[in-house]
């Protein structure tokens, strides 16, 4: 059975190696600062005792005041899983570092988040709209997204 590493345990591990990287933690997840994210991810991926080699899922949630970017990490060798989160304040340009340099698997998932929730990932090799088309206005999975009143036409689309 996969060991679910709780957020507090993860926070403890991170606190020993990367000071001030963790802002908060509970049973479910540990929150790290956006600035420290890349270092944290690299540590969790490379460190032999952690060895989170599989990035199961990246997603983001719009909590209106802030965005949470959620990383589900899995270690195949240890058969363990944990959840890492980054809290991004501000609705205009939430920005966080891309983890594609650590896990290539983040590529398409980060594009999807950029497309649907409008979170920008710096350092992503190909950050373009994916599910909607170039020229689409707004980010449909945001809580405040409203469809433009009919009839409307999009550039390059219907």
């Amino acid at each position: 059975m996969t060991t679910a590493v709780s957020g507090s345990d993860l926070a403890e591990v991170l606190g020993q190696r990367l000071f001030h990287s963790v802002t908060n933690s509970d049973a479910g997840a540990a929150w790290v600062t956006p600035e420290a994210l890349l270092d944290v991810c690299r540590f969790l991926h490379d460190d032999r005792a952690q060895a989170y080699d599989l990035l199961s899922s990246v997603t983001a949630v719009d909590y209106v005041e802030f965005f949470d970017v959620v990383y589900h990490l899995t270690s195949i060798a240890r058969n363990a899983a944990t959840v890492l989160k980054v809290r991004l304040y501000g609705r205009d340009a939430p920005t966080v570092a891309s983890v594609t340099s650590v896990w290539a698997g983040a590529d398409l998932q980060e594009r999807e988040i950029y497309d649907l929730l409008g979170v920008t990932f710096t350092g992503h090799p190909n950050l373009k709209r994916m599910l909607t088309w170039e020229g689409f206005q707004g980010h449909p999975l945001r809580r405040d997204y409203l469809e433009p009143p009919l009839p409307y036409t999009w550039p390059h689309g219907g």
């Binding site: 996969t2 599989l54 899922s57």
Partner: protein, 365 residues
Amino acid sequence: MHTQPVIVNIGPHHPSTHGVFRMRLTMDGENILDVEPVIGYLHRGSEKLAEERHYTQVITLTDRMDYVASMTNNQAYVLSCEQLTGITPPDRGMYLRVIAAELQRVVSHLVATGFFLQDLGAFATPLMYAMRERERVLDLFEMLCGARITVSYMRIGGVFQDAPGEFWPALRRILDEFPAFIDELEDLISDNEIVLSRTQGVSVITGADAVNASITGPVLRASGVSWDLRKAAPYDVYDRVSFDVPLGEHGDNYDRYIIRIREIRESLKIVEQCVAQIEPGPVRATTAMLFRPPVGESYVPIEAPKGELGFYLVSDGSIAPYRMHARAPSLINLTLLKQMLVGWKLSDAIVSFGSIDVNMGEVDR
């Protein structure tokens, strides 16, 4: 000789892009120099729709994601909901879920194999064989829930209803006859010289690359990484059945094909054991129609036919999920597409794409 690269769009309307996938290929003659996957033609906004439906209604949305494997989509979703609410389904319900999910895996792998061979250029014969047998399994689904594709069979806390009396003899017949059919299919394909020379050594993914790119499911196992969530994190009753996990050695197209054939056999073994173990009883825990799960979140990954499928649910205590995110294996398995295709020929590109076994309903959601 002076040559000039040419850009060819394969898709979105193309016989072998398995729906509306589009590959923007830069080619030098037949050789592929660059690949850019373009998706989104089937985007229906399932995740947005889920935010405005209560938890039970979302089950029907999951059917329409990976529409050749609806049962496992249902399963992933209801498991996530059950973790959120703390409901435990009764034993019979869990057994029925596993039976349905494994039959669904058989169907999905049959479709994958059939279309893989179709992409190889076999004139529909393996596809027709696979479809013929698929029909019989879909008949079983029809007995279970009245639908064949968009089943919506599973419910939060169990399954929709108990299997009717005629289900069990029909299942017995399929379990008895299927191994012979798989043998027949393998006789046709597995040692065919053309299949071997077209697929072996083509589009190799190493295990390390596959893990790094979050590739899961048969594609990962074909690269030799032993990672099957039915073993690693058993859900429902997978801890009560024994089965093997086939592993590939080379990570090429042939391994991805043969792994699926082997997994069909293992799935039949699982169903066999479930049939032996299942006991009479209720199939569904009583839950309120419009239940309100406590504030929190859940993510239960399962081993869907195409890889790790999980629904990330965030509850704000209301009757509808605050956020639902489907971790779609079809989409994420496409991450290495460029690495797989560059340097090979157009014919190989089609075959390699087929070997990943993506479903556009799931890629675009």
